[in-house]
């Protein structure tokens, strides 16, 4: 253990010198234009906006600075990319510093005006500002926008400001200082103790205390241990890990260095989902930059101890988010989970002690190690300290990535940050809230009754849901909860690896029962049977995927029982979404009583007085649709 005695330690990378050099080149440039280059903004054309800025700034006679390290010039304008800023639907997003002006939906043709008015003239282009839909007032900076102002961004803070490709900027912002402290000033035991004291719990789903995982691994003998970063973010509707890996890749590397110090690892893997090509690229670049600078390699911070990080791309299997399955995948095998114990901390990758932490969990570490565990505990709740990022999507006005302290309520998230519920066309829908799905296929659908419950790991577990990775999908009144439960069951059934019978066969049977319900074949036994299978799958499955697979169904039965029963008993879909349950309805406002439909009806299901609105008898109707075709007044519809 050469690292413990300070006296024998060699010189390490001088972070202060790097930061000072960065500061010098930064001071030279006059202004900085930050163009969001997250997946969402790129899809909206932000790379073209970036190129337009380079062209227009050059055309205006100012030096264009892309690489600050080599190109910084007096009076130049620094044009840089940033990671995802979270407000994807308003993209491409452009920020001009130091003015702090935040432009939304910028098109290449708007760039000239920004260059002339803001960069040269120091004024604001009003028409490109975000307009608060509530007050109709334009907002000049991010801090004035309710979507940002009502969040508490700490893990996501640097995403959207830093250039993910510039390691010097990360260091200038205080990066790698926490890792240096952990390696040079702390013993592995102290590192583990700090993590334990902070109360940090795994952000990947189950909420296991991070410090305890590390301590178990540290206690294992053996010279080789592994630290693995789980970036296999498979939950549909969650993209916080993607944003951190794309927007602040160095925070992932620094965190893995801290964790490696804590457990005594000399090698690590970043396992990134194959669906995230940009995240793979940015992490690879960041690892290479850290190696070039000597932060990673044979001698970490002059301790004489090595740390080598490798990046591995997943190949598309949801189950690989489960830690033992992920390890099998890194070893080049089918990604199937195995029984625990032994825990990976005891016997993991190639039989060696291994700690697997989720991206967001890791990205929280530099904050804990630089500000101290007590400062970290000030946010959040007693048992779930800190903040949590959520991917807020679905029928909500502001979709995007948000970060709030644990203990915030769903009402605050959906209505204050999210700006309320919208209809299918994206217009505000007051009173339109029906449900929110939390935690993806392992979580559940929650209704209005729990909107005011403070969110944390334990409160959600108590009502049959789960924080999961933090997907929050808002659904309006036009959404059918039974079809949603079926949607998730189809997903887990598809992704079940097939190793254990309860999950493989159970999810299949549950899906078949849900098909019966939405297609009108259910009878009084269906729900009992569904419940029975769900309980079995929950109890008897091998891994977390199976154990939590019934959650969407169970939570729907718990929170939306009436709607399920309407499908089963009355063969009716209250939201009007299940096609097999729809039947013709005559709108009494539009019906003129011509009886054209009644004459066409093959079973005599339509009756009514002449010149008065007619009605369809639900008992007789065979749903042939003849009445729809017969009506000339558009009064018949399926509902």
């Amino acid at each position: 253990m050469s690292g413990e005695a300070k006296g024998v330690m060699k010189e390490a990378v001088n972070l202060e010198a790097v930061a000072a050099a960065y500061e010098a080149s930064r001071a030279a440039v006059k202004r900085r234009v930050i163009v969001c280059a997250g997946t969402g903004c790129v899809a909206n054309g932000s790379l073209k906006v970036f190129d337009a800025f380079k062209a227009k700034i050059a055309a205006a006679g100012m030096p264009v600075v892309v690489e600050l390290e080599t190109e910084a010039k007096e009076g130049g304008v620094h044009v840089s990319h940033s990671g995802c800023q979270g407000f994807c639907q308003m993209g491409p997003l452009v920020t001009v510093e130091p003015d702090g002006v935040f432009y939304t939906r910028v098109r290449p043709e708007d760039v000239d005006e920004i260059v002339q008015t803001t960069i040269i003239g120091g004024q604001t282009v009003e028409r490109l500002l975000y307009v608060d839909p509530a007050t109709r007032q334009p907002r000049r900076g991010q801090a004035d926008i309710p979507f940002y102002a009502r969040q508490h961004r700490s893990v996501l803070k640097a995403c959207g400001r830093l250039d993910p490709g510039d390691i010097r900027e990360y260091i200038h912002a205080g990066g790698y200082a926490a890792a240096r402290k952990a390696w040079r000033e702390m013993t592995p035991r102290q590192v583990c103790e700090t993590a334990s004291k902070s109360g940090l719990r795994g952000r990947g789903g189950a909420g296991f205390p991070t410090g305890r995982k590390w301590e178990l691994c540290l206690a294992q003998p053996g010279p080789h241990k592994y630290i693995v970063c789980n970036g296999d973010e498979g939950d549909p509707g969650a993209f916080m890990d993607r944003s951190v890996m794309e927007g602040n890749p160095h925070s992932v590397i620094e965190s893995m260095m801290i964790a490696a110090r804590g457990i005594g690892a000399d090698e690590g893997y970043v396992y990134v989902r194959a669906e995230y090509p940009l995240a793979v690229k940015r992490i690879r670049q960041a690892v290479a930059a850290a190696e070039r600078m000597g932060l990673l390699g044979a001698d970490v911070f002059g301790t004489g101890l090595p740390l080598k990080l490798r990046v591995m791309e997943g190949a598309g299997a949801f189950v690989c988010g489960e830690e033992t399955a992920l390890l099998a995948s890194v070893e080049g095998k089918r990604g199937m989970p195995r029984p625990k114990p032994p825990f990976p901390a005891q016997s993991g990758l190639w039989g060696r002690p291994t700690v697997i932490n989720n991206v967001e969990t890791l990205a929280t570490l530099p904050i804990i190690f630089s500000e101290g565990p007590d400062a970290f505990r000030k946010l959040g709740t007693a048992k779930s300290p800190g903040t949590k990022t959520f991917a807020l999507t679905g029928h909500v006005a502001n979709t995007g990535l948000i970060e709030v302290p644990f203990g915030a309520t769903l009402r605050q998230i959906i209505f204050d940050v999210g700006g309320g519920v919208v209809d299918d066309a994206g217009r505000p829908m007051p009173g339109g809230f029906k449900a929110v799905q939390i935690g993806g296929p392992s979580g559940g659908c929650l209704g209005e009754a729990v909107l005011d419950m403070p969110l944390d790991f334990d409160s959600l577990q108590g009502i049959g849901a789960m924080v999961g990775s933090g997907g929050l999908v808002v659904m309006n009144k036009r959404t059918c909860m039974v079809s949603m439960a079926r949607f998730f069951m189809r997903f887990t059934q598809n992704e079940s690896c097939g190793k254990c019978v309860p999950c493989r066969e159970g999810t299949k049977q549950m899906l078949a029962l849900l098909d019966d319900i939405v297609e009108g074949r259910a009878d009084e036994n269906t729900l009992d049977l569904l419940l029975q299978v769900a309980k079995t799958v929950q109890k008897a499955s091998l891994c977390g995927l199976g154990k939590t697979a019934p959650n969407p169904v169970l939570s729907t039965l718990r929170h939306f029982r009436e709607e399920v029963e309407a499908h089963v008993r009355d063969k009716r879909c209250p939201a009007g979404q299940c096609k097999a349950l729809l039947r013709p309805v005559i709108d009494p406002e539009k019906c003129v009583g011509c009886a054209a439909c009644a004459r066409k009806c093959p079973v005599g299901a339509i009756a009514g007085e002449k010149k008065k609105p007619h009605r369809v008898s639900a008992d007789l109707c065979v749903k042939c649709g003849a009445c729809l075709a017969a009506c000339k007044f558009g009064a018949v519809s399926m509902g």
């Binding site: 639907q89 993209f239 194959a274 995230y276 791309e313 080049g332 679905g394 299918d424 949607f487 998730f488």
Partner: protein, 168 residues
Amino acid sequence: MSATAAVNETVRKFEKLCEILDRHGRDPAKLIPILQAVQEEYRYLPEEALTYVATSLSLPPAQVYGVATFYAHFTLKPKGKYLIRLCDGTACHVRGSTGILEALRKRLDLTETRDTTPDLMFTLETVSCLGACGLAPVVVINDDVHGQMTPEKALALVDAILASEGAK
């Protein structure tokens, strides 16, 4: 194709494979990155390539086949020139991805089991989440992400491809 040309073709094929295998140090633990590189090269995993990889890594062919069929990313069938991936994650689903899927299938005459057009021009797949939920619903054609889609916009993308291919 003459016999010699066929042999030359095969040799060329294995040359590429050898290059990929060497780049990964012929390490059986690197099976997944190797298969990813092979698929990148051929756009699918030909059966002979799988057997060759297995032999080179001293792995049973069944194990290689097992890995190749376990992960959704690998395909044993050739895919179309344009790979259309429609996101059917939760956010895209509640914002109407099903309508887009139906419209695309109808236009390209595809079904759930028949996902590639006979001329190998288009492959249509659904994926569970692309992590671009803020832009739901999302369609990705090869590497280009298209957000906030509607059935009409998706069909317009396909029509634009068809028009450019027809013009060639």
